[in-house]
Amino acid sequence: MTLPFYVAPEQLVKDRAEYARKGIARGRSIAALEVREGVLLLAENPSRTLTKTSEIYDRIAFAGVGKYNEFESLRVAGIRYADVKGYQYGRRDVTAKSLASAFSQTLGNIFVQGPKPFEVEVLVAEVGRTVAEDRLFKVTYDGTLYDKRGYTAIGGQADELSDRLGEDYEGTPGLAEALALTANAFREVEGRAIHGWEGALLAREGPPRRFRRLTKEELGEIATS
């Protein structure tokens, strides 16, 4: 009988974290900002059909970076979770907090028990009636859950982008202003031209389903500037 090769837990976690981080570092970043009109999600995305942001429920949106098949399966699981909960109870009972916590539990489990960790970071955003009620949650590959205020970023350059956003983000900007300052931060952090934008807004006012994609016209100004 051969004894299983002993690996110290510290080493195991370190190896897995390094593996996941390498995968994520290749991914392009996504920023989320609380603005007067709602919550803005902005990503660099050359593709017009393979999106990184998605509607989850009435006031809740999802964004994911990393390996496409992995964040896509998380997105689908998130929509299933939300729709089942809303159907079983009521539409108001679906909250970003419980969803983010479910993402956190799931990613945490996969990190420790799965054959390999997911190479993803996800963001769960919820728009409130007032800016004070907005929610931004960030969940990393190992299931760590962060509760962010005002602005945040995920992806390869998440920390740099987030720091850069912090320099310009003051009070609560309007949508146009926020788009300009985020696009600027992207360019400075990446140090190059950006190939294609994907933008989405969770509107503060309107019909029950608040998620909408920003049109080419709305993104037009930042695309050319």
């Binding site: 699981a77 299933r80 979770y81 729709d83 089942v84 159907y87 479910a102 539990q105 799931t106």
Partner: protein
């Protein structure tokens, strides 16, 4: 769904919400024994609903009354619902089953749209609804029949469509108008004599409310507009602008005109 974990490892039932809740054992189920239903048991029935095509869209109207035998069970029930932003659905038959069927249908359409990133085609929605009705067949044989009515537009070309169904899940596209429920015969008879495909929005609303008044005039179970209690039909239109509930003042005006015209 197990605790606070996401349904990642669960069976993946494609984009269908009904299959998803079935795999989680959460699907609504009404199972009956082989014994007949006791004759004293009358769950409320929802009565007349109708929809008609006009130049630019479709209009759908439903009365507000539910009956249980000879008793009025509810006076203010809603039978016309938004299925999604470009289609409307209404129920007739056993109200409790119908309302649940619609809730499931609405969730189904939204679920599909979010997962796939595009809306189902109008034809696809009607086919799905027919399948849902068919799955209720055992209940229908026990006397709990649900017959929906469906209408909407294809946003790309703006033409309206009306679909009627039967208890076995038959799906029929109507050329001009469709109706379901106990007063539907009267409503159709009225519409046959006045209908024109050139109706504008106002004419379409007026005539569909009048058809409902005609149905209420003959059918005991259908509740016409009740000016004294302030009960008016639910009226929605679907155009390229999307589904809109017709404002209260217009419905009141249409109901008052209809009560003068229909004897």
């Amino acid at each position: 769904m197990t605790g606070s974990l996401l349904p990642l490892g669960e069976p993946m039932p494609g984009a269908s919400f009904t299959e998803l809740i079935r795999s989680l054992d959460l699907a609504p189920e009404w199972t009956l024994g082989t014994d007949a239903v006791p004759p004293s048991f009358h769950p409320p029935d929802a009565t007349t609903v109708l929809a008609l095509r006009y130049d630019g869209g479709v209009v759908m109207v439903g009365d507000r009354q539910a009956t249980a035998g000879y008793d009025i069970a509810h006076r203010y029930i809603q039978k016309v619902f938004a299925a999604d932003s470009y289609s409307a659905v209404a129920i007739s038959g056993t109200a409790g089953l119908g309302v649940e069927l619609i809730r499931l249908f609405q969730t189904e359409l939204e679920h599909y749209e979010k997962l796939e990133g595009v809306r189902l085609s109008l034809d696809g929605k009607a086919t799905y609804l027919a399948r849902m009705v068919r799955s209720q067949l055992p209940m229908a044989l026990q006397g709990f029949v649900v017959v929906p009515l469906f209408c909407g537009i294809e946003p790309e070309n703006g033409t309206g469509h009306v679909f009627t169904f039967d208890a076995v899940g038959g799906r029929y596209e109507e050329r001009d108008f469709g109706a379901a429920g106990s007063g539907s015969r009267e409503a159709r008879a009225y519409l046959r004599t006045v209908y024109s495909p050139e109706f504008d929005r106002t004419a379409a609303i007026d005539h569909s409310v009048a058809a409902l008044v005609a149905a209420a005039g003959q059918d005991l179970a259908t509740g016409g507009p009740d000016l004294r209690r302030g009960i008016y039909p639910n009226v929605v239109t679907v155009t390229t602008e999307g589904l809109q509930e017709v404002d209260h003042a217009s419905v009141v005006a249409a109901a008052e005109r209809a009560l003068e015209v229909v004897r």
